[in-house]
Amino acid sequence: MKYIIAIIQPDRLDEVLMKLEEKEIHLVTVTQVMGHGRQKGIAEVYRSHKEGGSLLRKIKLEIGVNEAFVQPAIDAILGGAQSGNIGDGKIFVLDINQCIRIRTGEKGNDAIG
């Protein structure tokens, strides 16, 4: 089982979720995050005080999947989030060594979906 973490642009969320649904990936956890990256934001000003604008709003997706779904998930995310512009974000894939469905207590591959 793999734990997929993806950071994407906020306005791509709906698109990505749609694409994931198409691949039968229904279970996703979404978090609002701030990204510090290559992409430079518009500097903000408040009277005399200037803000670097180095932290930009991003969306983080977390998806626990079985091996079979790793590639489909990645494709779905690329499909929905890729604009070719700086700031599109990243996908990280980590290993899961246990997964439990709280509702039922099921374990492992059956629990993840």
């Binding site: 306005d11 709906d14 609002q32 701030m34 934001g41 000003v45």
Partner: protein, 463 residues
């Protein structure tokens, strides 16, 4: 003999005085003829009195009403609109109200008032009041005068109307108009669209002013149904069409980012509306009192209507529905509040809200129209319904014409307003677009207008 006439004269003077709350002089009629002169002098003085005295009650009322109407825009409308957009666009919406207030206030003092209320002719005001010339003390041109209200108070009161109207339009182009274009548009629109219509409907010689004996249409518009709401609603519709849909409309819309803000705004609109409607009587009298109560009743019943319709259609009564209904009711009663009775205010509130609901909730999605905040759906639709129904429910028609006749007069005024506002707004938008791009480009829209137009964010994420 003499005594009789005298008695009459006294009675008259008395009632006159009572009506204008001015002191009533009486003369020694025991000492006959010789004082005839004295009598005359005094009578004259008595007659003149109302004009030269400030009626503190009416003046206090009008000044507070002006403050209440400004409260409708700052921060009432600003919050009502601002709460409904996305986090990344709220400042741009608040700025529409702030900038409109700043620009229009100056325009109004410099030439706007003169263009709108200068006597002029049936179509335009004149330049007699540039920089508020000839507005010291009292000026019989402005009805307020007869109520012992200084002309400058009338200027101030009307200014607040000129401020809120362009601010209302923002509902149509919110979340996608560039700020420089907005400023230019507002400047031109208030000068070339608002001032003329205001003159037609309320100017002493306006061709739509019921008080003008030789008006083309003797339309009843107590507090600005045509001038403010239909005018702004139509302009908003035109802006929405000219600017086109927002990115992601209609599939990827976000819900209101802060409904409590929208509700606070609606409440302040409601409160301020008393100044708007009752204040339009330009005096604190029975009519103003009625206008206030009917305004309240229409707003309340309209809110209930929207709640019920939402309940039937969506299965639940929504908070956004409650405030939208209330505003629709307030819009609908605006032209009528001084002319109808309780029955009329109830019907106008019900029908105004029902019509707005039908358009906004039922029809609009089919039209795929991106009127961001339903400025047309609420102010335009309910405004038109209210203006027409004023002809139906007014207690007394103009010159005792038939209610149908009055209805036709209303229809004429509404038609003229719609036509002029629609055409004029479209032309101005094209004009502005030649000077500075009106529509925000995709990137500006994506990152949000707050950052792209104002280099600010409304809220911090990390603290």
């Amino acid at each position: 003999m003499k005594q009789k006439t005298l008695g009459a004269l006294l009675g008259l003077g008395l009632s006159l005085g009572a009506w204008a709350q001015s002191p009533v002089p009486t003369v020694d009629v025991g000492a006959v003829t010789p004082t005839a002169t004295a009598v005359v002098e005094v009578a004259a003085a008595a007659a003149a009195a109302p004009a030269v005295t400030v009626n503190t009650g009416n003046t206090a009322f009008m000044m507070i009403c002006a403050a209440l109407v400004l409260l409708m825009t700052l921060p009432g409308l600003a919050l009502f609109y601002g709460g409904l957009v996305r986090k990344k666009n709220i400042l741009s919406v608040l700025m529409h109200c702030l900038a409109a207030a700043a620009i229009v206030s100056v325009v109004w003092a410099v030439y706007g008032f003169s263009f709108a209320f200068g006597e002029g002719n049936a179509f335009f005001g004149n330049t007699n009041h540039l920089f508020l010339a000839n507005t010291d003390g009292f000026n019989s041109l402005f009805i307020a005068d007869a109520n012992g209200v200084p002309a400058i108070v009338f200027v101030m009161f009307q200014m607040t109307f000129a401020i809120i109207t362009p601010a209302l339009i923002a509902g149509g182009f919110a979340e996608r108009m560039r700020f420089p274009a907005f400023c230019l548009f507002t400047l031109l629109w208030v000068s070339l669209i608002y001032c003329p219509i205001c003159h037609w409907v309320w100017g002493a010689k306006g061709f739509l002013y019921h008080g003008n004996a030789d008006a083309w249409a003797k339309a009843l518009d107590f507090a600005g149904g045509t001038v403010v709401h239909i005018n702004a609603g139509i302009a908003a519709l035109v802006c929405a069409l000219y600017l086109g849909k927002r990115k992601g409309f209609p599939n990827r819309l976000s819900p209101p980012h802060n409904l409590p803000f929208a509700i606070i705004g609606a409440c302040l609109l409601w409160i301020g509306w008393f100044g708007f409607n009752a204040g339009s009587e330009l005096a604190c009298d029975q009519t103003a009192a009625n206008a206030m109560l009917y305004t309240q009743v229409a707003a309340a019943v309209a809110a209930l209507v929207w709640l019920v319709l939402d309940g039937i259609y969506h299965g639940k009564a929504t908070a956004l529905g409650a405030i939208t209904g209330a505003v629709a009711g307030l819009v609908a009663i605006t032209p009528a509040c001084g002319f109808v009775d309780l029955k009329g205010s109830l019907f106008i509130g019900i029908l105004g809200a029902a019509a707005a609901w039908a358009f906004v909730v039922y029809l609009k999605p089919k039209l795929k129209l991106d009127d961001t905040l339903d400025a047309f759906g609420v102010h335009g639709v309910a405004g038109i319904v209210g203006a027409l129904l004023t002809g139906v429910f007014c207690v007394a028609t103009k010159d005792g014409m038939s209610h149908f006749g009055q209805f036709v007069e209303q229809l004429k005024a509404v038609a003229v307003t719609i036509g002029f506002s629609a055409l004029g707004t479209w032309i101005l938008l094209m004009l502005v677009n030649c000077i500075t791009k009106v529509r925000a480009d995709e990137r500006e829209e994506t990152v949000g207008l707050d950052v792209s137009q104002h280099k600010e964010s409304a809220y911090t994420v990390i603290d």
